[in-house]
Symmetry: C2
Subunit: 503 residues, 2 copies
């Protein structure tokens, strides 16, 4: 498994001339003919994920139902050295589930069983196709919930969340997906079935669960996922504060954290986002003339929430909030959150297309970064709407543009690239929760030295010596990144590329 | 780096006949002659760590001061294929820092600088030899602290904490070491210097920081460690509840967690531990006639703590506590904790020797496991004192014995082994916070299948193809585990052993 089998070395040329008929027959024998998709029309549904600016059909789509079927499918891929990748609901925003040419796409849509609910020990075991929100639905009656809550939680799959280490509004206080996954049953790139982690947090040996979460399908496929569920808070208040400038909202965020209060969530939406949401949903909650609103959710025991809500309100007012309204009842709270959750979709009202960026900055750099982003918006001539997980410094600038204008996407990508470099320059990250996927691999050298990246690629080679598990994702290569700014650093990785550059 | 270089394949025979003089001269050139230890008398200080039942002198001890010096030392080890390992303060309880015969011991005692304190972003960067408690001391004036707090915190090193993924009393609420390490500068087993993670939590790519923490020196040596520090709580109360039986204390623990309260710490000490502590420290705090005491620390804002302390007190009384006393002032609180922190050391009063076990069980299984342990104690004829992190189900049974009686250690080890198997049988773990080291490698097949272990060994091979970084630790081999119960499972790992069995 460790040494790369040179005879299996591959290329697009070989894949182009491959005879898929016998391979498809093997897949049909594993999952049944109706669960193998081959026609061009049907494959259309799988040609991209939530990153719609890239499109590519796979050679074949296979829909397994069990770990054993996934293992058999992957063994076929291994035997023929076929690149493969898994896809959950296809809502990912970095192209992690973007198929490769002549690849096998393993879709988990039929793996939607909740296998075990263990309330006593606060564990739930699910198949990867289970929808994020179903986990909470399955345990909320007993007073529990599953914390990571991407905006897409009513449609995204737990398997996809694991692959991308998804975040969400409540990750400020409770952590991202990796903090809630205790164990995984995995199919490795040679088809072997292994268990990593377990049903308890204190597992000895290497933390392979941790390395797998966020590995974007490059180390194998998770077929059973053991999640930690949390006790629902006794009381929740949501505060909406509105501000005349975004910097004041940013200063409030630092003020709240500085006071030792960690809210369940703390989100900023700027004027453009507010108006997009009100145009679409007409919630009536968000003041259209505010430069920014801050949504702060406080959870805990009744007394604690009442006290902290009062303290947070006064921090908001000290920092210049015009108004602070508090929602204590569930309907009111959901109404306040509804606009935030629909903010991306609402951008469709403002512009035919938008490009969502996902960067992280130290919280304290928020005012500086907002000003710089405004300058970049002016320089490139594209408006930028801002929606962000302010508490953990995770920005989601939405660049509005029209994709039907030739050259627009390239300019917008260049603008997005400048925003990411700005994040790195102030000590942040090129991704907070959407992953690297196909979209950001060329920015990896902004954050990692060649030897740092080389170390990651060693680990990849160790799990996947043939380089068939979602190849070309995460890591930069000279071919995929061309003569980009950092191609010199990328070329230093040369010796490792023979493997990841092949497809 | 990936393929194992067969020509470098090694054996104890080769190491026995090695000429150390030129190697020692190279070490002296790197760190200076006074920082290389070679005499048998001086080496005595390094022949074991906190697991004193195993002893072995290394061939040489080297004391570097910088990352570059560690890298140069490791390059020499790599060139001559010499097994090496790092040692911090030598307080580890699983033999992780137990030298091998003819090995190079790299001691971090001179790497004690706090390199950076960044209060604004709540980060501290330290060298590995920095003492755990120094981190809190460096930031407590500004209202911050470092959460992981092993009982040995006034002497154990942060580097050792990282290697063993150490826990402590406050890990119930705040997590173990891995939850507080953001980034690492590493010297890999070939001497390469790489950075993993960073100064922020949201780093893209594989979570190599996570895999390194707890890898017990088998993947390399951390030479700079970026830690997350937390805001100190506004208010802390410590409750001491005493019970007429241990089961009632256990039921109280489940009651508190079930009420949605997560205390900063929640510890049980049984009657034997209480009396050992009172014999030694005479704190006067712990009632000698109690079957068990429960120490519960509640932290947060003043109102929140006052409220939760009241709720916890009532849960204690509902579950049959005879008395509940509450310490609100810092001296009182420290006095209550002092006995718990000194509990292991106090066992010296009761018995010439003790063997401390470290297992994890699901919280709900506590009453059953305590009864089974009592039965095992009777069966083997050795008393067992119990001190445990009850909130997270992490048991520390202390088996009392006299090592000068021939055969006693073997019997005690057999009893310890039965306790671990009991933990695994109820769905727990063979280690909560002390690591596997040399002590527990033979129990790994109790928790992991051969293919699960094989996956870990692949990862190891990937970082350390020559198998020179702390070899023989963590993983079971036929030689180290002999014909133990699980030797069949161990033998199934055969193909991987060529590497880890060599030394």
């Amino acid at each position: 498994m460790i040494a790369l089998d040179k005879q299996q070395a591959n290329s697009q040329d070989r894949l182009k001339s491959i005879d898929w008929q016998p391979i498809v027959r093997q897949f049909e024998a594993i999952v049944g003919a109706k669960n193998v998709v081959r026609t061009r029309e049907e494959l259309l549904a799988y040609e991209c994920d939530g990153l719609t600016s890239y499109k590519q059909q796979p050679a074949v789509v296979v829909l397994p139902r069990t770990t054993e079927e996934v293992s058999e499918i992957v063994k076929v891929c291994d035997r023929f050295a076929l690149p493969f990748l898994a896809r959950g609901s296809g809502t990912g925003l970095s192209g992690g589930a973007l198929p490769l040419e002549n690849s096998v796409l393993i879709v988990t849509a039929l793996m939607k069983r909740i296998l075990k609910v263990d309330l006593e020990n606060q564990r739930v075991v699910v198949q990867p196709g289970v929808i994020n929100n179903w986990v909470t639905q399955a345990v909320s009656g007993a007073g529990f919930y599953y914390a990571p809550d991407p905006s897409s939680q009513i449609i995204c799959s737990v398997g996809g969340n694991v692959a991308e280490n998804s975040g969400g509004v409540h990750c400020l206080k409770y952590g991202v997906t990796t903090n809630h996954v205790l164990g995984l049953k995995l199919v490795l790139p040679d088809g072997a079935i292994v268990d990593v982690g377990g049903e308890i947090a204190e597992m000895p040996g290497y933390d392979l669960t941790g390395i797998f979460v966020g590995s974007e399908g490059t180390l194998g496929i998770a077929t059973e996922i053991t999640l930690r569920i949390l006790k629902a808070a006794e009381s929740i208040h949501v505060l909406l504060a509105d501000f005349e400038n975004v910097e004041a909202a940013g200063a409030t965020v630092s003020g709240v954290i500085g006071a030792g209060i960690i809210p369940g969530g703390m989100e900023i939406m700027d004027n453009m986002s507010i108006n997009a949401v009100e145009d679409t949903l007409a919630t009536g909650c968000y003041p259209r003339d505010a430069a920014a609103i801050l949504l702060i959710e406080i959870d805990g025991s009744e007394l604690e929430v009442a006290e902290n809500a009062k303290r947070v309100e006064s921090i908001c007012l000290q920092n210049g909030a015009r108004n602070v309204t508090t929602a204590t009842e569930v309907e009111q709270r959901l109404k306040l959150w509804k606009g935030r959750k629909a903010a991306f979709a609402a951008m469709g009202k403002l512009s035919p297309d938008y490009y969502v960026q996902d960067g992280v900055i130290p919280r304290t750099k928020l005012p500086y970064v907002l000003k710089e982003m405004e300058a970049l918006s002016q320089k490139y001539g594209y408006p930028i709407a801002n929606v962000f997980h302010a508490g953990d410094g995770n920005l989601h600038p939405l660049i509005l543009y029209n994709n039907s204008i030739p050259g627009a996407l390239e300019k917008v990508e260049a603008l997005g690239s400048e925003i990411l470099k700005l994040c790195v320059r102030v000590g942040g990250s090129i991704s907070g929760e959407h992953g690297i996927g196909a979209d950001k691999r060329c920015y990896m050298p902004e954050m990692f030295s060649p030897s740092d990246l080389e170390t990651m690629i060693w680990v990849r080679s160790c799990f996947d010596p043939k380089g068939i598990a979602n190849p070309t994702k995460i890591f930069p290569t000279p071919r995929t990144c061309g003569e980009a700014a950092n191609s010199q650093a990328i070329h230093q990785l040369d010796s490792q590329f023979k493997q990841i550059e092949r497809f």
